[in-house]
């Protein structure tokens, strides 16, 4: 019986390591982004989130964490959110909830600071520089966005959005272990700043999370066997 139990434990462990179940699942921040959003195409004019309107986000990625690799000395990093279409818009008082279909895509691009194109929002996007200057680099990470929901208050001029974020591609896909590819992302959005370029809807500050690696503790066959003797 002892041998049977020991065998089961060793099979459950991987190469002499035992997984320690955390008290609650932990997550880590993969990247942080900021930028601006706009609607394209626009089916319902002058109504953000009107059913049929497309949602687009563009901006910079100032923070990229391992297991992704970034070189901020030589490259600039940008993002684009696209592929989302409003499928439901409910209003109650000052609050608005918009649900989007898709799936959408969040792509992170890496572009040379010397030979690449400087990021330029311009005005009234899409325009000659946006999104083109944000998407002309190497796509290092591509993720699908599902269950995308945008919540905002017309009174405060601010709100947030959230969605699932599943990593499916990009040149650094292999850096993300398969068990860590199903993450999520969210952002705060606001109109209450002078920095919103003409024609954009909101300023956006967001981040994407992935599951943290499962913690392990090194052990030996002997130590394991002693537990059950």
């Amino acid at each position: 019986m002892r041998r049977f139990a020991t065998t089961l434990l060793l099979v459950a462990g991987i190469a002499g390591s035992v997984a320690i179940s955390p008290a609650r699942a932990q997550e880590q921040v993969l990247l942080d982004y900021f930028g601006f959003d706009f609607e394209s195409p626009i089916v319902v004019p002058n109504t953000f989130g009107g059913v049929g309107n497309g949602y687009v986000g563009l901006g910079e990625v100032p923070l990229i964490n391992p297991p992704l690799v970034a070189d901020y000395a030589n490259f600039q990093y940008s993002y684009r959110i696209t592929g989302l279409t409003a499928i439901s818009r409910l209003v109650n008082g000052d609050f608005v909830v918009v649900d989007y279909g898709g799936p959408g895509t969040l792509t992170i691009y890496e572009d040379s600071k010397t030979s690449g194109t400087p990021l330029d929002y311009g005005s009234n996007p899409p325009n000659a520089t946006a999104p083109s200057t944000f998407i002309d680099g190497t796509p290092i990470l591509i993720g699908t966005l599902t269950s995308f929901r945008f919540i905002y208050s017309t009174f405060s001029g601010s709100g947030s959005y959230e969605s699932d974020f599943t990593i499916v591609g990009g040149t650094q896909l292999a850096n993300i272990p398969v068990p860590q590819r199903a993450g999520w992302q969210f952002a705060g959005v606001t109109k209450n700043t002078l920095s919103v370029p003409d024609g954009y809807a909101h300023q956006v500050k967001g981040e994407a999370m992935i599951p943290a690696p499962t913690p392990t503790r090194s052990s030996s066959w002997g130590q394991l066997k002693r537990i059950y003797r």
Binding site: D32, P62, N92, D94, S153, S158, E162
Partner: protein, 242 residues
């Protein structure tokens, strides 16, 4: 100079003064398009508060670690392993939480605050830590040790949450007027302080929280220095009214 001429000169001076003042203040667009400070994360704590309720009169505290500086503070390196750049917000007094029902989803919760002071520090060593159940031996002390590089007052701070977002997300923001600190001159314009917007997303998702805190905030500060409508000189402006 007779009375009518004096009145005319006075009127010109008055118009000139108003025009110059207007030119100096008309905000066409912020001087900086990107954030001057970006953090990830900051944590909120407040006695008896939950993501859905704040007790009127209670004080909200926020501690954060700065991850990136943008112009005009981009001469600072937030990744310097010998330093940490941190901020501490205090003096935010709750007005209580307003609940707005939104069937069929659930409820929105909005909490506004009066007052507030923000302090940004450059400290050595890199020791800021979000220990659980603040205030404690390290919170806020490891966020306030060092040189005060910026300080200011917060106006109209609020947070918005809800009880139906699947991933437990909302937002918070408020306006800051800088008043002091070693780098105050970097965030002022013509010796007048520029307002800043403290903004970003909130989450209370258990997998990202530390015990004893109410919210985790990923946010940034924008510098909303107004720019003049058109560059000019005193001479040109005077010429317009001669």
């Amino acid at each position: 100079m007779n009375r009518s001429v004096r009145q005319g000169v006075s009127m010109r001076r008055l118009i000139l003064s108003i025009t110059v003042a207007a030119l100096a203040l008309v905000p066409l667009r912020a001087a900086q398009a990107g954030p001057i400070i970006d953090w990830d994360p900051a944590f909120f704590y407040e006695q008896d508060a939950t993501p859905y309720n704040s007790v009127p009169g209670h004080e909200l505290f926020i501690v954060g670690i700065i991850s990136v500086f943008g112009p005009p503070l981009d001469f600072l390196n937030a990744s310097d392993p010998t330093k940490d750049y941190t901020f501490y917000l205090h003096g935010l007094i709750s007005n209580g939480t307003a609940v707005s029902s939104f069937p069929p989803f659930g409820n929105f919760f909005t909490t506004t605050y009066n007052g507030g002071v923000i302090e940004i520090y450059e400290g050595t060593p890199r020791d800021a830590v979000f220990d659980p159940f603040p205030p404690n031996a390290n919170v806020p002390s490891t966020f306030t040790n060092g040189t005060l590089i910026l300080s200011g007052t917060m106006v109209s701070f609020y947070w918005q949450s809800n009880d139906f977002s699947r991933l437990n997300t909302g937002n918070a923001e408020g306006h800051i007027l800088w008043t002091g600190g070693a780098y105050f001159n970097k965030v002022s314009h013509n010796e007048l302080p520029c307002p800043s917007l403290f903004t970003g997303g909130l989450t209370w998702r258990p997998s990202l929280m530390v015990d004893g805190y109410v919210f985790r905030h990923q946010g940034k500060l924008d510098l909303d220095c107004p720019t003049v409508a058109k560059s000019s000189t005193w001479g040109r402006v005077k010429t317009m009214y001669r």
